[in-house]
Amino acid sequence: MSNEAIKQFADREYKYGFKTDIALAKFVKGLSEDTIRIISHHKKEPEFMLEFRLDAYRRWLKMKEPHWPEAEYAPIDYQNVIYYAEPKQATEKPKSLDEVDPELLRTFEKLGISLMEQKKLAGVAVDAIFDSVSVGTTFKGKLKEAGVIFCSFSEAVQEYPELIKKYLGTVVPVTDNFFAALNSAVFTDGSFVFVPKGVRSPMELSSYFRINTEGSGQFERTLIICEDNAYVSYLEGCTAPKFDTNQLHAAVVELVAMDNAEIKYSTVQNWFAGDPKTGKGGIFNFVTKRGKCQGKNSKISWTQVETGSAITWKYPSCLLMGDNSVGEFYSVALTNGKQQADTGTKMIHVGKNTRSTIIAKGISVGHSNNNYRGLVQIGKNADGARNYTQCDSLLVGSHCNANTFPYHDIQNPTAQIEHEASTSKISEDQLFYFLSRGIGQEDAMTSIISGFCKDVFKELPGEFAVEATQLLGLKLEGATG
């Protein structure tokens, strides 16, 4: 491949870099117990939430920021982060989407998210999070009819405090890691999903995260619970405007699946990645995502398409506690410019006959750094556990790198663990084949890369598979040569 082609391939613009000028009602900068009290007060939270936050904060103070991932960044000043930013709205709380600031709705429209009820045809329920608060959730009524609770986390705290109290922090404990502790102390909003016994959610659920305010951090918290025989498919998408300063995104996602329940969690992450040439700005995406297959025959499936963020550091994991439970992880991580990604999964097999599959595809372009890091742990009592792992890396250009760090910890003789990995570049032969048939370099490369990611894309729910393919194409735009 010519160097020119690679250069053009690597030079592409971030489409979602615009900023919405919208008045902020409240914002809180700096971190202290007072900050936490203010956040809790603004949200009119019950006492147990404040205690949960303060406990997390006190523990966080004693923790050290980890530096083991293969990522380099300037130290984060935790006092210089806006912990709470809320868009100003006409009324205190919008009763319906008609009352939401039109500017805000336009933002989401620009992002291709249909918040307006008339766009029901899209057939997907959306919860949109703007900076620190949820601005609206669609299709609430229809979902409620089916018995599915889908609302913002703050609403859930008000309306279903007993559920929050029961499940919050049970999958990702407060002390799990530095960023999870920070999130537990200061999280502002997020989505809450509860699917009761025997209910299949009638539609795909989706939340959309947008960081708009410069210097603000987004600390969202998502909690999804599927009771016995229930099913839900959930998708999140993320963007942020272009700023020269780094922004911190430290989210926590907790999933709980009971007997025979299934949760499918898909992410298309396209946070602003920083300036591709200087590496300035961009989101620090330090996220803790974990699902617990608590019940028998339960299943949790993570699918992620990671294309944004200056630094991505996340390992969506499965705790396979219930017998015969299944964990899956499908991932595409595309890094370009000066992006750094250290991502992978943890499959912790505890129950008998538990199975897990890991398919991870890493694509490094430009001067980026792309790492897969994953753990497969088979506990003493996990008889008959199975794991299959495949992680492939594709290098485009000679200034990027791809690392693979798989960890296996096996304590049971009946386990069957297979791991395969390969690293290579786009083959000249494949490219030649396309070119000789009159297909341009850019299309050829996009096709080859889409083919490389096919195993993951086919796991995404219908429309999102299309979206992800388009996003990848967009990211690879400008590759003509």
Binding site: L395, H399, A402, H408, Q416, E418, H419
Partner: protein
């Protein structure tokens, strides 16, 4: 004819402090001079800077070091290396590292100095300043030695009942075009508990080829650390076949640095671990030059309460184009209490490479077992056949035949014991 390169501890010093404190008391010998003495001081300072590793260090995450660091070890009364050198042609020289180092051509002296300056393994650094008399084996240009030289790491007459410690050290330098075979043997010679901290340096000049067979067995009550560091110049080839039964705490670290293009290395290991045997295996291939090939195959059979770690890494630096590497780790777990940690890792900074790795852990296949049983073979016999077949892939590579037969016998006996349970 055998050669013995032993160092006698004339004034038997009795240590009273645990190892972690004793090591810090090192002082350079007052009479020592020359380049090697300076290197030792440098190694000591580097050790002081780094300190002992803890579980926070990736490379030492699973190993229980306290059992070594808290033990009071007495230096062995005599320790060293025995060889079966026989009559050697004049183009192969075996001498003490002390006397041989000053005579080494500068290029090799510099190599050794530079290598030690960047050493990360703290125990290798300790070997560096603690070993009293290492061995230097030097092959002059284009020497082709048909038979293999055997080196045994040993303490001839351990005295007293105290745990003792010794630091064997061998340095192989192969000039251009040399072809050589070496057997490195560390097997039981005493019932006394001891700690061996060994270091092997290998330099292969352009076109040189070395085949190293490393055997470690019957050292159940022993803690044994060994670091093998090989530097490969253009078109050289390094092949290492190792067999181990582990020990109380046993660790082997192999590091291959490609410094010239078109070189290749082949690292193969078979571990058969039972009882409370522990074996921690680390292998790194650093592709600092392009067009090199590295191959790694690690097979482990675990029974009883054995524990093992297989940590392999292939590192391809920027511009080391056309590198090729393969890593394969296969583990057979035969008991409930055995445990394996496997980490086949890749760090790739060049795009025109072909690197693959695979790891598989499992048990004996039921359908295969059924096949054998249905042909009237007893369960025990069938299990033995299948386990042995798993091991043979590595055993078959051992040369010469006499050694291969010996290892096969040891493995067979060991597996017979394992499948009975």
């Amino acid at each position: 004819m055998t050669g013995k390169y032993l160092i006698m501890n004339k004034e038997m010093k009795i240590n009273s402090k645990p190892y972690r404190e004793e090591v810090l008391k090192w002082k350079p010998e007052p009479t020592a001079g020359g380049e090697l003495a300076r290197i030792r001081e440098q190694a000591f300072h580097r050790f002081q800077e780094l300190g002992f590793p803890t579980r926070q260090h990736e490379a030492w995450k699973y190993i229980y070091l306290d059992s070594i660091l808290n033990t009071v070890y007495t230096p062995a009364s005599a320790s060293g290396i025995e060889t079966d050198q026989g009559s050697l042609p004049s183009s192969v020289r075996i001498s003490s590292l002390e006397s041989g180092f000053e005579k080494l051509p500068h290029v090799y002296q510099n190599w050794l100095k530079n290598r030690i300056a960047v050493e990360e393994n703290v125990f290798s650094l300790i070997n560096e300043f603690q070993n009293k008399e290492g061995l230097l084996v030097f092959y002059s240009k284009n020497m082709i030695l048909e038979r293999s030289l055997q080196f045994s790491l040993t303490v001839p007459e351990p005295s007293g009942s105290e745990p003792f410690i010794f630091y064997p050290r061998i340095c192989f330098v192969l000039e251009e075009g040399v072809k050589a075979e070496v057997i490195l043997n560390h097997s039981s010679f005493t019932q006394h508990p001891y700690f061996m901290n060994a270091m092997v340096d290998i330099y292969l000049a352009e076109g040189a080829e070395l085949r190293l067979s490393s055997i470690q067995h019957g050292i159940a009550d022993t803690s044994a650390f060994m670091k093998i560091a090989a530097t490969l110049q253009k078109k050289s080839r390094f092949e290492m076949i190792s067999f181990t039964q582990g020990g109380l705490t046993s660790r082997q670290e192999t590091q291959v640095d490609f410094r010239g293009s078109e070189a290749s290395c082949h690292l193969k290991n078979l571990s058969v671990l039972r009882g409370v045997s522990r074996f921690y295996q680390h292998a790194t291939a650093n592709h600092y030059a392009g067009e090199c090939q590295s191959n790694q195959l690690f097979k482990t059979i675990l029974a009883g309460e054995a524990q093992s770690e297989v940590n392999s890494l292939v590192h391809v630096v920027r511009d080391a184009q056309k590198s090729e590497s393969r890593q394969l780790n296969r583990n057979l777990i035969l008991s409930d209490k055995a445990r394996i940690y496997s980490r086949p890792q890749l760090k790739i900074y060049a795009d025109d490479v072909k690197c693959s790795h695979g790891a598989a852990t499992g048990q004996l296949d039921d359908s295969e077992l059924f096949y054998l049983r249905s042909r009237g073979i007893s369960k025990e016999q069938a299990r033995l056949m299948m386990t042995l077949a798993f091991a043979e892939e590595v055993i078959q590579l051992i040369e010469p035949k006499t050694l291969r037969d010996e290892i096969e016998k040891i493995v067979k006996k060991e597996l017979e014991g394992i499948v009975k349970h």
